[in-house]
C-alpha cells in the first residue's frame, strides 16, 4: 500500500469510527466530542451492547476489557500524538515525542490536564493502585470511601483540630468525645490518603522519564517499536519497573502503613459508635459477640482435647485387655498411631467429627 493510499485508508477508517462515535454521541444527547475517536467509538459501541448482556458477571468482565482497551488507545494516542500520518525525520520525531512527554510530565506535576480527556485518563491510569484501594475500602467501610475526600481539610485542618481539642461538657460529654475522636481520625485518614495519592503522582513523572530513556536505549541499538501494542507494553513495563523500585522503599512502607492504620483507626471508631447505638437499643453488640466467640472457642478447644484424651485412654484400655497385662499410660503415648486392621479403600463417606 502506497503512503498516499495508506493515508487515505486511515482517514476513511478514522472517519468511520468518528461517524460511529458521533452517531452514538448524538443519540446519547452528549455535547462534547470525544478527544480520542477510537476510545469514543469503543465507548459508544459498549453503551449500545452492554444492556443486552444477560448477567452481571459477563458485564463486569467485558467492562474490564473495555476499560483497559480505552487505556490502551489513550496511551497510544498520547505517545504518538503528532506522529501519525506523517513521516518525520529523526529530529522531528524526537522533537514531537519529547514535547508529548514534557506535556505528560507537566500534567503529572501540576495535576492539571487543561481539559484534555486523553491526558486525564492516562493520568488516571497511574491512579490505578490508588483507585483499587478506594474500591476495596468502599466495599468494607460502613460509609462510602470517598465521602470525606472532597473536604478541603488541609486549609481548615488546624482550625478543626483546635475545635476538636475543646473538651466535652455536661451529661453528653462522653458522646461528644467520641464524635471528636471520629472527626480527628477522619482527618488523619484523609491526610494519609492524600500522601498516598501524592506518592503515585511523582511515580508518574518518573515513569515518563523512564519511557524516554527506554526509547533512547532502543534507538541506540537500532531497534524500533512498530505496533501500538509494543508501545503500550513498553509503557507498562516502564511503569511497573518504576513502581517496583519505589514501593520497595522504606518511605513507601511508612506511607502504606499509615494509610492502613489510619483507615483501621477510623473504622474502629465507627464500630464503637455502632456498638453504642446497638447497646442503647438493647441489641447484642460486636464487642459482646466477640467475648462470646472467644469463650466458645476456648471451650471447643478444651472439648476437643478432652475427647482426644478419652479416645487415647479407650485405646490403651483395649490394648491392655487384648494383652491381658497391665500397662502404664506412658507405654502408649497419645501420639502413637492407632492400630488398624481393615482397609479403607472403598471408604468414601465423610466421617464427621464435632461440628
Amino acid at each position: 500500500m502506497s503512503d498516499t493510499n495508506t493515508s487515505d485508508w486511515m482517514d476513511i477508517q478514522r472517519k468511520y469510527w468518528e461517524a460511529w462515535s458521533e452517531l452514538g454521541r448524538k443519540s446519547m444527547g452528549l455535547d462534547n466530542p470525544p478527544a480520542n475517536p477510537w476510545a469514543g467509538a469503543l465507548d459508544h459501541w459498549w453503551q449500545t451492547m452492554s444492556p443486552a448482556l444477560p448477567n452481571d458477571q459477563a458485564r463486569d468482565f467485558m467492562q474490564r476489557l473495555m476499560d483497559q482497551g480505552k487505556a490502551f488507545f489513550d496511551i497510544t494516542d498520547s505517545l504518538t500524538k503528532g506522529l501519525a500520518g506523517s513521516n518525520p525525520t529523526a529530529e522531528q520525531g524526537w522533537g514531537i515525542f519529547s514535547k508529548s512527554l514534557d506535556e505528560l510530565q507537566k500534567a503529572f506535576t501540576s495535576g492539571q490536564w487543561d481539559g484534555e480527556q486523553t491526558l486525564h485518563r492516562l493520568m488516571a491510569f497511574w491512579e490505578m493502585p490508588f483507585d483499587n484501594w478506594q474500591r476495596t475500602m468502599s466495599s468494607l467501610a460502613p460509609l462510602p470511601g470517598d465521602m470525606l475526600s472532597n473536604i478541603p481539610h488541609d486549609q481548615v485542618k488546624n482550625g478543626i483540630n483546635q475545635l476538636l481539642s475543646a473538651p466535652g461538657l455536661g451529661y453528653t460529654r462522653e458522646e461528644q468525645g467520641r464524635y471528636q475522636a471520629l472527626m480527628r481520625r477522619s482527618l488523619d485518614y484523609q491526610s494519609a490518603l492524600r500522601e498516598y495519592s501524592g506518592f503515585f503522582t511523582q511515580l508518574g513523572v518518573k515513569s515518563v522519564e523512564r519511557m524516554r530513556q527506554r526509547l533512547l536505549g532502543l534507538a541506540e541499538h537500532d531497534k524500533t517499536v512498530e505496533s501500538a501494542r509494543e508501545l503500550y507494553d513498553t509503557w507498562i513495563g516502564c511503569c511497573e519497573e518504576v513502581y517496583a523500585e519505589e514501593v520497595g522503599s522504606e518511605d513507601y512502607s511508612r506511607i502504606h502503613g499509615q494509610l492502613v492504620n489510619t483507615q483501621m483507626a477510623l473504622k474502629q471508631c465507627m464500630s464503637v459508635m455502632v456498638d453504642e447505638s446497638l447497646g442503647a437499643l438493647n441489641m447484642p453488640t460486636r464487642a459482646e459477640l466477640r467475648t462470646l466467640q472467644d469463650r466458645l472457642q476456648e471451650s471447643r478447644r478444651e472439648n476437643k482435647q478432652q475427647r482426644r484424651e478419652l479416645e487415647t485412654l479407650k485405646r490403651q484400655v483395649a490394648h491392655l485387655l487384648e494383652d491381658g497385662a497391665p500397662a502404664t499410660a506412658s507405654q502408649a503415648p497419645a501420639s502413637s498411631p492407632p492400630r488398624r486392621t481393615t482397609t479403607t479403600r472403598k471408604r468414601t463417606t465423610a466421617k464427621s467429627t464435632e461440628k
Binding site: 459477563a58 468494607l140 512498530e226 465423610a350
Partner: protein, 358 residues
C-alpha cells in the same frame, strides 16, 4: 542524534485499533458461551469433616500402583486449593496421582466471624494434627508424607517440627521461610502495619483486602495489561475458560481468621521467627532443628510473592540430613498450572517421595 525508534505506520496503527475493537465485539459471544466455570477436575471424596474443614481423598487411577504412605496436601489459608487441580491438563493433583501417591487435601473452607478466634495452634496442632491422625489410622502407618504449599508449607514445617514422629517426608512448595529478604515486597509493606489494630477492628481480615495487597504487587500488569492481552484470546472458547478459571481463583479469596492472621503476621512477617526463633504454637516452641525427616524444598525462580531467597533460606535451618532443593523456572502460580510444571514439578515430587516411602 539516534534514529527515532517509534515506527508505527499509520495504516498499521489504524488496523490495530480496528482489530482490537473487532476482537472485542466478536469475542463477546464466546464469553457468553463460557457458562459456569468449573474448577477442581479430579474426582474426589470427602472423607473427614470438622467445622468448615473438609479432608478430600482423590480417586486413584486404576492402572497406577498406589504407594502405601499417604500424602497430605496442606494448602494456604489464603486463596482456594483448587488451584492445585484447576483443569484437566493443568493439575498438580493429577500429576501426583500418576506417580502413585495416595493424595489427600485439606480444604479450609471460608472462615466467618464465628471462626475469628481460631489460632495457629487450632490450625496446626488441631485441624492438621487430626487429619494426620486420621490418615495414620486409616492407612495403619506411623508416619505420613506432607506436601505444604505456600503458607501451607510454613504450616507443614511448624507441624513437622512439633510432631516429628508423625511425618515421614516433608515437601515444601513455594514456601516462605525467611520472611525478611530484601526483595520481599509483602514483608516490606507489612512492617509498618499495626496488626493488632487491624485485627481488633475487623475481626477477620477480609479477602478483598488481601486481594488488593496481592494485586498491588504488580498493579499495571495484573489489573490492566492482562485484560488487553486477554482480548487476543477471545476467539478461542477454551482459552477464555482457562483465563476465567484463573480469574475466579484470583478473586476467590477467603477471609482470614483474625487471631491466626494476627499471629502469622506478627511472628512470621514482622519478627521473622522461623529464622530468628521464638515462635510458640500452643505450648511448644517451633524449632526447625526438630525437622529430621527428608525435606524436598521447591521454589519458583520468578516468584513475586515468595521470593526464591525466602524459600531457599530453609537450607541449613532444619535438622534433616536429607535435604533437596528444586528450582522451578517460573512464577508462584506457574508452578501449579504451567505446562512446564506438569512435566517437571509433579514427577520430581512423586519420584522423590517414592524413593523414600518404602
Amino acid at each position: 542524534m539516534p534514529a527515532f525508534p517509534i515506527a508505527i505506520r499509520p495504516d498499521k496503527l489504524s488496523q490495530e485499533m480496528l482489530d482490537y475493537s473487532q476482537k472485542l465485539s466478536e469475542g463477546m459471544q464466546n464469553l457468553l458461551n463460557a457458562d459456569e466455570i468449573d474448577t477442581g477436575v479430579t474426582p474426589k471424596d470427602a472423607v473427614l469433616r470438622e467445622d468448615k474443614l473438609v479432608l478430600y481423598r482423590y480417586q486413584r487411577p486404576a492402572e497406577v500402583v498406589t504407594q502405601p504412605v499417604p500424602l497430605l496436601v496442606v494448602y494456604a489459608l489464603v486463596n482456594r486449593p483448587y488451584m492445585t487441580d484447576l483443569q484437566e491438563d493443568r493439575s498438580t493433583i493429577k500429576g501426583l496421582l500418576a506417580t502413585g501417591q495416595d493424595v489427600y487435601l485439606i480444604d479450609w473452607g471460608y472462615p466467618d466471624q464465628a471462626d475469628r478466634a481460631l489460632t495457629l495452634d487450632d490450625y496446626i496442632n488441631g485441624y492438621i494434627d487430626r487429619c494426620v491422625d486420621y490418615l495414620r489410622e486409616t492407612h495403619g502407618v506411623d508416619k505420613i508424607n506432607i506436601l505444604g504449599i505456600c503458607q501451607g508449607g510454613t504450616f507443614g514445617l511448624c507441624y513437622t517440627a512439633l510432631h516429628p514422629e508423625k511425618v515421614k517426608n516433608l515437601v515444601t512448595m513455594v514456601t516462605p521461610v525467611d520472611f525478611k529478604t530484601p526483595d520481599n515486597l509483602l514483608s516490606s509493606w507489612v512492617q509498618n502495619i499495626d496488626i493488632d489494630l487491624a485485627v481488633d477492628t475487623m475481626g477477620n481480615i477480609p479477602g478483598e483486602l488481601l486481594n488488593w495487597t496481592f494485586l498491588s504487587l504488580k498493579p499495571f500488569s495484573l489489573t490492566g495489561q492482562k485484560y488487553v492481552n486477554m482480548v487476543d484470546l477471545l476467539d478461542d472458547e477454551d482459552k477464555i475458560k482457562n483465563f476465567l478459571r484463573m480469574e475466579k481463583w484470583i478473586f476467590d479469596s477467603p477471609d482470614q481468621a483474625g487471631e491466626a492472621f494476627r499471629q502469622f503476621i506478627k511472628d512470621f512477617y514482622q519478627r521473622n521467627g522461623l529464622v530468628d526463633g521464638g515462635i510458640t504454637i500452643g505450648e511448644h516452641e517451633v524449632d526447625l532443628k526438630a525437622v529430621t525427616c527428608p525435606v524436598l524444598n521447591i521454589y519458583a525462580m520468578q516468584d513475586h510473592l515468595v521470593p526464591p531467597d525466602g524459600s531457599k533460606a530453609l537450607n541449613g535451618l532444619t535438622g534433616s540430613t536429607d535435604y533437596t532443593e528444586h528450582a522451578f523456572p517460573g512464577g508462584h502460580i506457574g508452578i501449579y498450572v504451567s505446562g512446564k510444571a506438569q512435566k517437571e514439578v509433579t514427577p520430581t515430587i512423586g519420584n522423590w517421595l517414592n524413593e523414600r516411602s518404602s
